[in-house]
Amino acid sequence: MEEVKNDSGQNLGIAALITAIITFVLSVIPCVGLIAIIPGIIAIVLASVGLSQAARNNSPRGILVAGLIIAIIASLISFSQVFVAGKLAHKANKWPGDIQNIVNDVQDNVVKQLEDANISIKIESNGDKVEINSNSSKKDKEQTLEELEKGNNPSNDTIPKKK
């Protein structure tokens, strides 16, 4: 009995092969090599689906296999560029430096905001209030402190001794 052959998966094969060729060309260009992994994966998926269709219907698989092989090679080249970028960055001492700069910037911003901010501390106990404002002058602060030390402040902040 003669085997019946049809062109199932042929269109997918064409799409996979074209995508794989484009991926292959893109993957060797360092500027866009990293993003070539996206069409690479698309080509692998297309070729795989096409191959499964072709296997079911006993149709030719030449283009599909070619597309799959080219896509895998291109994706590997594209993926290898991650390591190339990493090594280049390591050599240029760029990434750790960037992180350090970000940390320093955040620290500076926090310190600056704290310096600029109007901070006031309020202490309330038994209806008595003590307020220390960061904007108040040094003299005022000293006076408040003296008052607190002398006990002029009516509030009693001593801890009662246990008998």
Binding site: V32, Q81, A92
Partner: protein
């Protein structure tokens, strides 16, 4: 009067024949993946040429940026390729070499591929007996031209691996 009628009949039969051959070509195109792939690849190369023509180096309005440079801060071997293509299309070859020394060979690869797609498709249609040999010749030829054009980039990648 008779001659005039005969001429019309002759023209009509000729046009019918032409239509039939066009239909035959159409059917052949549908059944031959090689021709479809060639047409699509030629279209993509034309789009690359159009991209280089539309975006100008003066305005510096290229949408594609170097990811490598963005990540590492170091320029790569293919930086300035878009500028180089645009300048080649505008006939400013010296400036194109300044932007990217490999720009010309990559540009020539794309142009050679454009012509190869057209010529190989034409040979494919005209000579049905040599399809396998033609495809093999096309693949090997394209691979050699590809390696000649892209070898500096391949060396750049594998140097850091």
């Amino acid at each position: 009067m008779r001659n005039w009628k005969r001429e019309i009949i002759l023209l009509m039969t000729l046009s019918l024949r032409k239509n039939n051959s066009g239909r035959e070509y159409g059917i052949r195109f549908k059944n031959e993946p090689y021709l479809i792939i060639n047409i699509i690849l030629a279209g993509i190369i034309l789009l690359i040429v159009l991209y280089s023509r539309i975006f100008s180096p003066e305005k510096n309005n290229y949408p594609v940026v170097c990811i490598h440079e963005k990540l590492t801060g170091e320029p790569c071997a293919s930086c300035g390729l878009s500028h180089s293509f645009s300048l080649i299309l505008r006939g400013r070859i010296k400036e194109a070499y300044q932007w990217n020394i490999y720009g010309m060979r990559v540009f020539l690869f794309f142009i050679s591929q454009l012509f190869m797609r057209i010529i190989f498709s034409w040979i494919f249609i005209k000579n049905p007996g040599i399809h396998k040999q033609l495809i093999l010749f096309d693949i090997s030829g394209s691979l050699i031209i590809f390696l000649m054009a892209f070898i500096p980039f391949i060396v750049f990648i594998f140097k850091w691996l």
